[in-house]
Amino acid sequence: MKLKTAILTPLLIIMGLNADSVTGTTLGHYSKPGAPINMTYDSKHVQSNEISDVNITLSTTVRSGTMSVILTLDEKLTLKSDTKSEITFQVTPEQKTYPIQLKVSAKEDGLYYIRLLTKIDKGRGSKLRAFAVPVTIGEGRVKRVQSAVMMKSLSGERISVSKAVETIQVLEE
């Protein structure tokens, strides 16, 4: 594994990717109305039971007011730092970025999320925006939840089937 990593990592770095962390940003995306907050993040890809360092940076075009953040973790992701679950920043024109650092780990491989619910309050109503930071543990396989059963209709079309609440009334003679 170490030899493979030693060979692959430089190649991935050359390709612009880093095998050891996941990065992302909301800058430049087409987004629905909401709190004027952008987020960039870096979360270290680790193995199960190892600690992943997660660095989150929030930024806003707002020059005053309060920015509050509620952090929640996926059930199987454990917080390993003393980061509070509710954080409040006073927004000023001088401060461009608002950092949040935390350490997490999980016992099982998987793709987990740290969810952020952010709010900007300028004293005349507030707006919200939600984000989710992915944390990859081990193989990092996505565990998808299915709200319905997927099958194929006779015509070959893929359908996602849910049972309806049904009432049947026979019109008696």
Partner: protein, 515 residues
């Protein structure tokens, strides 16, 4: 007497007939009739000042209108297919008797030669959502089978989304019954989460329209799910409408009330917000968040406090558009256009405007079409601190923004050089002064050299995009490293240059020339 009685009896059956919807047997002795309703459960919002949440004590069954319904036998074969009416009702007049069959409703609306919209699960092989009843014997008597998509198992989500889109499409259909829309896929999944990455894993970032024929809607109920936030869904469909029937030069990006936005973004986002209020006839735009939608915010499209009003404000654009539409006279608003006049400008003059789509291009053409209402239109525009709009380029602006903002469109002639500057004073990458627009008129077809060279600013790399204005389309994009110089074969006509610094540094200047 007997003859009269016979005649009366005959008349009775002629009028009250045999094919009555309440009759218990079908007129064909081998078939039976099944009717019913397709409903979905909508969780309605609860608003309190500027906060909103999904109120699970206010769940209402709503009709699923215009959707495809099929009768399916035990082998999965389709016995019959129909479409629900506006009340969600369907009828299968002649199904085989004594046959095990079920009713299936698709999250799909279809009108031949006009539109097709499907709600699919982008995290499950793009499968289309359906709800089904049980396989039950059709018997010999007519029957009623009603199906409801439940909110508790989240099966109502796709149908709630479709209902919002159907409402929007019907508004367009009412003013333009020959409208033809391209096929649209709406991607929704309980896995759709506000994280970037793989769309098929649900990492969609936010609810958005992809600029082509896909809308993505959030569904992760532990962070943000939008299936019941009908203004959000309709806002995104509004982008689809603008892109397909009109023209949207909106460059996208983060935006919010109070921002000084690029004029293209201000119009595109303001239109989406106003359109959602127009379709629902409800000016309260809301978006719920958090676990099970127990947090959220709202804004009154019409009455939100004026924060930073002006031509770069999406909130000003939405208020202007909604005031032009509504029948509620308030303040400077003395007009009630309804939707049709706005739709006509959008799909005609706005589509072919020789300037970027903005409040300037829209209002100047609305005034041209409705010259007897110019004063009233000007009054509504003026109430948003926007000086009278006289042309599509926003000429004659009052300069209440950063120095160097005006004019909005510069002009350049052959052989001339202009020095202009971009800034990130209002943020980036889609704010005022991130992009500079330059008009140029080409006198005759020839090869021309367009050059953009940095003149000031250590952190700067300028790109440019050249647009032909007739028809309006991007002609060339210069996005190399460093200064840009391109020899281009250009026909006689009017062109627009969009020049921007990809580093979006605080201030950087450039020389632009054409020879």
């Amino acid at each position: 007497m007997t003859n009269r009685l016979s005649l009366l009896t005959l008349l009775f059956f002629l009028f009250y007939g045999c094919d009555n919807s309440n009759s218990t047997t079908s007129s064909d002795s081998n078939t039976t009739r099944i009717t019913g309703k397709i409903l979905y459960e909508r969780i309605n919002p609860l608003h309190s000042d500027s906060s909103s949440l999904l109120n699970r004590n206010n769940i209402t069954p709503e009709p699923s209108s215009g959707i495809i319904v099929e009768a399916i036998d035990s082998d999965g074969a389709t016995l019959a297919s129909t479409t629900t009416n506006n009340q969600g009702e369907y009828t299968f007049g002649q199904l085989p008797r004594n046959t095990s069959l079920k009713i299936r409703a698709y999250a799909k609306i279809f009108k031949a030669n006009q539109w097709e919209v499907k709600v699919i699960d982008n995290t499950n092989s793009n499968s289309i959502y359906v709800i089904e009843g049980s396989l039950t014997n059709s018997g010999e008597s007519n029957s009623i089978r009603n199906l409801t998509a439940s909110a508790s198992n989240r099966s109502s989500g796709p149908f709630a989304i479709l209902a919002s889109v159907y409402k929007a499409m019907n508004l367009v259909y009412k003013v333009d019954n020959s409208v033809k829309l391209p096929k649209l896929l709406i991607n929704w999944s309980v896995n759709n989460i506000p994280s970037d990455g793989s769309l098929s894993d649900g990492q969609i970032g936010t609810s958005f329209f992809n600029g082509l024929n896909n809308i993505y809607i959030l569904g992760d109920q532990n962070s943000d799910t939008d299936e019941f936030d009908n203004h959000v869904v309709i806002h995104e469909w509004g982008h689809f409408l603008e892109k397909t029937l009109s023209r949207a030069d909106n460059i996208g990006g983060q935006h919010g009330e109070g921002d000084n936005l690029d004029i293209r973004v201000a119009f595109g986002e303001g239109f989406g917000n106003a359109f959602s209020a127009i379709v629902t006839d409800d000016p309260i735009y809301f978006d719920t968040y958090g676990r099970a939608g127990q947090s959220g915010w709202n804004m009154n499209i019409e009455e939100t406090e004026h924060v930073n009003p002006g031509w770069s404000s999406e909130a000003s654009v939405q208020r202007i558009l909604y005031d032009l539409y509504d029948n509620h006279d308030d303040g400077a608003d003395k007009l009630t256009f309804g939707f049709k006049p706005l739709y006509e400008v959008l799909t005609k003059e706005q589509k072919s405007a020789k300037a970027f789509t903005s409040i300037f291009s829209f209002i100047s053409e609305l005034k041209n079409r409705n010259s007897t209402k110019s004063n009233e239109i000007d009054a509504i525009v003026s109430s948003e601190d926007i000086a009278t709009i006289t042309d599509i380029y926003g000429s004659n602006r009052d300069n209440n923004l950063q120095s160097g903002t005006l004019p909005i469109y510069e002009q350049i002639t052959i052989g001339e050089s202009l020095n202009l500057c971009t800034t990130n004073f209002y943020g980036s990458p889609n704010k005022v002064n991130n992009h500079k627009y330059v008009r140029l008129a080409i006198p005759s077809s020839d090869i021309y050299t367009i050059r953009v060279a940095k003149s000031h600013g250590s952190i700067a790399d300028f790109n440019f995009e050249l647009f032909n204005t007739t028809p309006f389309q991007s002609q060339f994009l210069a996005e190399g490293q460093g200064d840009e110089s391109r020899d281009l074969s250009l026909s006689k006509g009017e062109y627009l240059l969009d020049i921007y610094n990809v580093q979006y540094s605080s201030r950087a200047c450039f020389d632009v020339s054409i020879n």
